[in-house]
C-alpha cells in the first residue's frame, strides 16, 4: 500500500508543480509529464504485483476524530488500478507535445493539475473501503473531470457539455448516496464489511439504485446522454482517459457492490444483460450516425460498456444458475474487455487527437486521405479500429471470444437464462458487425480516399511523444491479441476477488482457451504472410503503373464526389429507425437546371430527445406552479406566519 500512496503523491506533486511553475511553460509541462508518468508507472507496478500475488493490502487513517478513511487494495481494485495507471501513463506521455501551444500556458498548467487530481481520485475511488472515503474520492473525481471538460469554455457546446456532465454526475452521486444510505441503515457503520446482512428486498433496491448511479457514470444507455457531449469537449488525452478508464470506475462500482451484496439473484443478471445489449447496439448505431470523430468515439464507448455489461450480466446469470464456468467466463471476459477497451479506445482518441490537432477540425466529412501523410497515426488508428471491431488477431477479439464462450455456456440452460444468453450472443454479434461498419467508415472517410477540404490537404503528423504513446498502445493491442494468456490470468485473479464462493479458480482450462486464441492468431498471421509472399513473388519484375481511380465513366471525378460518411451509414442507421431517428434537411431540387443545393442529415439520440419532455419539463412545470408563493405582498407574508402557527396548533 505504501507504494500505492507514494505513486499517488508523486502524481499529485506533478500536478502541483505544473500549477506552481505555470509561467515557465516548458518546465511545467516537462515536470508534470515526468512526475505524473513516473507516478503512474510506479502505481502500475504496485498494482500488478498485488494482482499477481493476489494479496489484499488495507490501511486506514483517522478522519474527523471519530471516522476513518479506509483504503483497501484487493485483486479487483488492483486490476482496475493497473488499467487506469497504464492508460494514464500513456496519456501523460502523449500530453507533453499535445499541450505544447504556449498561447495559454496557465490554462495548460491548470489542465495538467486537474488531470493529476483526476488520476489520483480515480485511484482512490478504486481503493476506497468505506462509504465516506468512496463518496469523497468519487465526488472529487467528478469535480476534477468537470473542470477538464470545460477547459475550453469559450465554445458554447463545451459549456453545455460541462453543465450536462456536472448535473448528471451529481444526480448519479445522489443515487449512490441513497444506495449507501440503505447500506448504513442495516449495517449501522460506514464500513463495507457486513453489507451482506441486508434483507433481500433491501439488497435488490440498493443494487438498482447503485446501478443507476454508477450507470450514469459508466454511460449505460438511458443515462449516457452526457457522455457524447463531455468526452469530445475535453482535450484528447483527457478524452482518452475519460473514455478509456474513467467510465470504468462505474463498472468497478457495480462489480464491487455486486460482490459486497453476496446475493446471487438472477434478476441482477437479467437487468445487466438487458442494459448491456441495449447500450451496446444503440451506442454503436449512434456512433455510426455521427459526423464528429470524437463524438463517434464517445458513442462507441457506450457500445463497449454495453459489451462489458453483457459479460458481467452473463457472469451474474452464471452465478445465479450455479454454473461456475459460465460465471467465471462472463466476469473474466468483462474484465478482460475492460482492459482491452481501455487500450484501444485511448489509442483511437489519441489518433483522433492528432488528426484534430493537425487539421483543426473534428468533422469527418471535411477530412480524407490522411493516411498518406500521417503514416504512424494512420496505422495506429487502423490497429485500434481492428481491435475495437473485435477482429483477430487483436486484443478486442480475445475479450469478446471469452464473453461468447460464457454466453454459449448459458445456452445449455433453459427458460429465462437461455433467453438472456441468446440475447447476449445475438447482441454481441450485431454489435460486432455494426462496429465493423462504423470503423471502416471512420477509416475510409478520415484516413483514406482523397482530402475533401483544404483542412485535410497534406497535413503531416508531429509531436514525438504523441507518436510514442500511440505506438505503445498499438503494440499492446497486438501483443494482448496474440498472447492473451498472461493478461487474461490477471483478470482471472481479479474475478477470484469477487468472492463468488468459488474457492480458487484453476487457470489451466482458461489457459487452454487463450492458447486457442494464440493458435488462431498464428494461423491467420502465417497465412497472411504467406499470401503476401505469394503476391510479391507474382509481382517480381512486373510493370507497376499509377493513374487516377477509374471513375466508372466519369471523366473528371473530384474529391467532393467521394462517398460521404452520412451516406455510408444511412441504410444501416435507418434499419434501427425508431430508436435512431434521422433528421434530413434539403431544399427540393427545382427547375430544369437546378442551382447548387445542400443536404444535411443528423441522427438523433432517442434518450437525449426524451430527456427534455420526459424529465426536465415535468420538473420545471412542478416548480413553476410553486413560484407564486413569493409574490411580494407583505400582508400574505404575515398570513403565512399565522397559517403556520394555526396549522401546527392542531397537532398538539
Amino acid at each position: 500500500m505504501s507504494h500505492f500512496f507514494a505513486a499517488i503523491s508523486l502524481i499529485l506533486a506533478g500536478g502541483l508543480l505544473s500549477l506552481v511553475f505555470a509561467r515557465h511553460h516548458l518546465f511545467s509541462r516537462a515536470g508534470a509529464t515526468l512526475l505524473i508518468s513516473a507516478g503512474c508507472a510506479w502505481g502500475l507496478g504496485a498494482a500488478v504485483t498485488t494482482l499477481m500475488g493476489s494479496v489484499t493490502h488495507s490501511v486506514s487513517f483517522q478522519y474527523l476524530n471519530l471516522f476513518f478513511l479506509a483504503f483497501e487494495m484487493d485483486a479487483l481494485s488492483a486490476f482496475f488500478l493497473a488499467v487506469i495507471f497504464l492508460v494514464c501513463l500513456m496519456a501523460a506521455v502523449y500530453s507533453f507535445h499535445y499541450t505544447q501551444d504556449a498561447a495559454a500556458p496557465v490554462k495548460t498548467a491548470v489542465t495538467a493539475f486537474f488531470f493529476s487530481i483526476l488520476v489520483v481520485s480515480m485511484a482512490l475511488v478504486l481503493t476506497a473501503a468505506n462509504i465516506i472515503t468512496f463518496m469523497l474520492s468519487w465526488e472529487i473525481m467528478s469535480l476534477s473531470s468537470f473542470f477538464l471538460v470545460i477547459h475550453d469554455y469559450r465554445k458554447k457546446e463545451n459549456r453545455y457539455a460541462g453543465y450536462l456532465y456536472f448535473v448528471f454526475s451529481h444526480v448519479g452521486a445522489m443515487f449512490i448516496f441513497a444506495g449507501f444510505g440503505i447500506f448504513y441503515k442495516y449495517t449501522g457503520s460506514f464500513g463495507f464489511t457486513d453489507v451482506h446482512i441486508l434483507t433481500q428486498g433491501a439488497k435488490i433496491l440498493a443494487f438498482v439504485l447503485f446501478f443507476i448511479g454508477f450507470g450514469s457514470k459508466a454511460g449505460v444507455f438511458p443515462f449516457h446522454v452526457w457522455l457524447p457531449h463531455a468526452h469530445p469537449a475535453a482535450p484528447s488525452h483527457i478524452s482518452a482517459v475519460m473514455s478509456g478508464v474513467m467510465i470504468k470506475t462505474g463498472i468497478y462500482g457495480i462489480l464491487r457492490i455486486y460482490s459486497l451484496l453476496e446475493l446471487p439473484a438472477p434478476a441482477f443478471g437479467y437487468l445487466v444483460v438487458a442494459a448491456g445489449v441495449v447500450s451496446g447496439i444503440l451506442g454503436v448505431v449512434y456512433a455510426l450516425g455521427q459526423t464528429d470523430i470524437k463524438r463517434l468515439l464517445a458513442y462507441s464507448s457506450v457500445e463497449n460498456i454495453g459489451i462489458i455489461l453483457i459479460g458481467m450480466g452473463l457472469g451474474m446469470v452464471g452465478v445465479a444458475s450455479r454454473n461456475p464456468v459460465m460465471a467465471v467466463l462472463g466476469f473474466s471476459g468483462a474484465l478482460f474487455h475492460v482492459l482491452n477497451h481501455a487500450l484501444f479506445k485511448s489509442l483511437l482518441f489519441m489518433g483522433a487527437g492528432m488528426v484534430v490537432h493537425q487539421t483543426g477540425t473534428r468533422s469527418m466529412d471535411a477530412l480524407g486521405g490522411l493516411l498518406k501523410s500521417m503514416k504512424i497515426t494512420g496505422f495506429a488508428f487502423i490497429i485500434g479500429s481492428l481491435a475495437i471491431c473485435g477482429l483477430p488477431p487483436f486484443n478486442g477479439f480475445a475479450g469478446e471470444f471469452v464473453v461468447y464462450l460464457g454466453g454459449f455456456q448459458g445456452i445449455a440452460l433453459d427458460k429465462i437464462p437461455f433467453a438472456v444468453s441468446v440475447a447476449a450472443i445475438i447482441g454481441l454479434a450485431v454489435i460486432g458487425g455494426l462496429a465493423l461498419a462504423c470503423f471502416t467508415r471512420v477509416l475510409g472517410i478520415v484516413f483514406q480516399g482523397e482530402p475533401r477540404t483544404e483542412a485535410a490537404r497534406n497535413r503531416t503528423e508531429s509531436g514525438t511523444t504523441m507518436l510514442w504513446a500511440m505506438g505503445g498502445l498499438g503494440g499492446a493491442c497486438v501483443i494482448i491479441g496474440v498472447f492473451p494468456g498472461w493478461f487474461f490470468n490477471l483478470s482471472l485473479s481479479a474475478v477470484s476477488a469477487l468472492n463468488l464462493g468459488y474457492a480458487r479458480i484453476p487457470q489451466a482450462p482458461f489457459a487452454q482457451i487463450t492458447g486457442h486464441i494464440t493458435l488462431g492468431a498464428f494461423v491467420i498471421v502465417l497465412l497472411v504472410l504467406g499470401m503476401a509472399g505469394v503476391r510479391s513473388w507474382f509481382y517480381r519484375a512486373k510493370p507497376i503503373s499509377r493513374s487516377g481511380t477509374w471513375g466508372c465513366g466519369f471523366t473528371r471525378p473530384t474529391s467532393r464526389m467521394q462517398y460521404t460518411g452520412a451516406s455510408y451509414a444511412f441504410e444501416m442507421v435507418r434499419f434501427f429507425r425508431p430508436a435512431a431517428p434521422i433528421e434530413e434537411q434539403h431544399p427540393p431540387v427545382a427547375g430544369r437546371f437546378p442551382a447548387s443545393t445542400r443536404y444535411e442529415s443528423r441522427v438523433h439520440d432517442i434518450a437525449e430527445r426524451c430527456m427534455a419532455p420526459g424529465v426536465i419539463r415535468p420538473v420545471q412545470f412542478l416548480f413553476d406552479r410553486l413560484r407564486w408563493i413569493q409574490h411580494g405582498d407583505i400582508h400574505l407574508y404575515i398570513g403565512y406566519i399565522l397559517l403556520a402557527i394555526v396549522l401546527l396548533l392542531f397537532f398538539i
Binding site: 480524407g368 458487425g433 465493423l436 486457442h516 491467420i524 497472411v528 509481382y539 493513374s547
Partner: protein, 306 residues
Amino acid sequence: MFESIVLWLAAVLTAPFFSAVILKVKAFFGGKKGPPLLINYYTLIKLFKKGSVYSVSTTAVFKMGPVISCATALAALLFLPMAGQMPVISFNGDVILVLYLLGLGRFFTIAAAMDTASPFEGMGAAREAFFPIICEAAMFMILIFFYRLTGELSFAAYFSGTGTLGLWQIAGPSLLFIVIAFFIILVTETSRVPVDDPATHLELTMIHEVMVLDHSGPDFALIELGSFCKLFFYAAILSGLILPFETGIPGAGLLVFIAGLVIVYLVVGIIESTIARYRMDKVPQFVLTSFALAFFATIITLELIQ
C-alpha cells in the same frame, strides 16, 4: 491429420472448378454452350501473369486488401471438416474464430475499396458492411441451435464423423429450416443472386464486384481465389448438412461430399438463372428471413429436446 491437409489443399485447388459449374448451369439455361469448366483457372493464370495499375489515391491498405481477404478465406477452410474428416485445426470455439476471420477479410475488402476514393466503391462498401451484419446474427443463431443440440462449439463436432447424422436424428425437421437459412447466408455472403449479381454491368447495382473495380493483375487474382474459397466454404457446410451419410468406406465419404457440393452449386446456378435480383432495400428483409428461420428452428428444438 494428413488427409485433412490434403483435403484442404484439394479444396483450395478445386474451388475455382466448382464455381465454373454455376457458369455452366447459367449457360445451359441461356441455351448456350457456355465456358469450359476450367475457365476460372484460365482467368486466374491470366491475371497472375499481368502487372497492375494502382490508383494514385490508394495506399498500402489497398494492397493489403486482396492478401488478407484471400488469407482469411483459406484460414476459414482450415477449420472446416470436409468429407466427414477432421479439419486441420479444431478447438472449442473455432466457429466464432472463423466467423470473425471472415469479418477480418471483409474489413480489409471494405478498407481497400474506400481507399480508392471512388464513390461507386464506397457505395458497394456500404452495402458490403450492411448485409453481413444480419448474416452474422443469423449465423450465431444457427450456432446457438447447434450448440443446443450438441453442446459443442466447433465445426468438427457438427460436420465430422457421424455428427451431422446425429443432428438429423435429433432434430430433423428444424434442421431443414437451418439448411434454408444457411443457403440464404451463402447467397448473401458470397454476393450471388438474388442479393447481388456478379454478372451485372451497372456499377450502381453492384456490391462485391464494384469494390474490386480498381484491383488488377495478381491482386485481383487473389481476390477471385478468395471468393471462390469463400463460396466453397459455405457450399461445403451445406453439402455436409444435406448429405450427412457416413459410409464406412473411405472413398465413399468423399464421393458423397462432392455430390453434395455439386448439388449446392447446381442450385445456386439454377437460382441465379431463374430468379432476378432483389431491389437493394428488399435485401435486408430477405436476409432477415434466414435469421427468422434459424430462430424458429431453435424454438422448435427446445420443444423437441424436452
